[in-house]
């Protein structure tokens, strides 16, 4: 594996581990989702260069558009949580009472 491939592969692994082992804030979990998206955007942009297929350059732009939707929805949930519970701490989201 070339060092650059290892770099975005491990970046994706770090951010998914950071999402799994989140601590207090909902927004730091959302930031880890953003870094997962970034670490997928970079290899999707490198793919058309490596394989010299220009039409694949569309895919990272489309991914950016849908990731903007996801970011907006995540931040709206953050605002809703801050409105209801007063903060975005994850231990407040505890409707499951068992």
């Amino acid at each position: 594996m070339s060092p650059l491939h290892f770099s975005f592969y491990s970046a994706f692994t770090f951010s998914s581990l950071g999402l799994a082992f989140h601590r207090t804030h909902l927004i730091s979990a959302l930031l880890c989702l953003e870094s997962m998206m970034l670490s997928m955007f970079i290899p999707l942009s490198i793919w058309p260069v490596e394989n010299q297929t220009p039409s694949f350059a569309l895919v990272p732009i489309l991914m950016l558009a849908f990731s903007a939707c996801e970011t907006g929805t995540g931040l709206a949930m953050l605002v809703a949580s801050a409105r209801t519970h007063g903060s975005d701490h994850l231990h407040n989201l505890n409707l499951l009472q068992c």
Partner: protein
């Protein structure tokens, strides 16, 4: 030049590690900005400057600015930066996991460097990424309309989520 691009790749990884070790969100955004700047520099070194600029404009200029505004909802009385032992512990734990994966997966054959740049072959009249994204408007126009419709729908989703006044999401009752 090779070592500069490898340095950009390493800084990309370190920036994402700075986000993943879950410091206080004020500092996590810094890590994300550093990671996206390094990623854009890496893409420019390959020659695909259009997707790099699209990343800068949409991601840094659009999404991260909104994130930085929303971080104000996550106020900590004592924000933890990367000097705190908990954050450093998480970061070292993630590095250990990836290192174990590399060692056990047998990825030790590490120093093959080499990637084609954007002028490697084909017609050099229109750059690779420009002509690729132009397909979005000519052959992929259905996908363009679907993506635009999805973005409009996301606007209404956000409106419904933050409606408040006893009709919003995440109610405590």
């Amino acid at each position: 030049m090779t070592y500069f691009v490898i340095f950009l790749g390493i800084c990309f990884m370190l920036g994402v590690l700075a986000v993943a070790s879950n410091p206080s969100p004020y500092y996590g955004v810094v890590g994300l900005v550093v990671a996206s700047v390094m990623g854009c520099g890496w893409l420019v070194s390959l020659g695909v400057s259009f997707v790099s600029l699209a990343l800068f404009l949409v991601y840094l200029g659009g999404m991260l600015v909104v994130f930085v505004y929303s971080v104000s909802l996550a106020a900590d009385p004592y924000p933890e930066a990367w000097g705190d032992w908990r954050v450093v512990g998480y970061g070292l734990g993630f590095v250990l996991v990836v290192w174990m994966g590399v060692v056990l997966g047998g990825l030790v054959d590490f120093w093959k460097v080499g990637v084609v740049t954007v002028d490697g072959g084909g017609v050099s009249f229109a750059r690779l990424d420009f002509s690729g994204v132009a397909v979005f408007y000519s052959c992929g126009v259905g996908l363009f309309l679907v993506a635009g419709w999805g973005l409009l729908l996301a606007l209404f989703v956000v409106l419904e989520l933050v409606r408040g006044l006893s009709r919003g999401a995440i109610r405590a009752v």
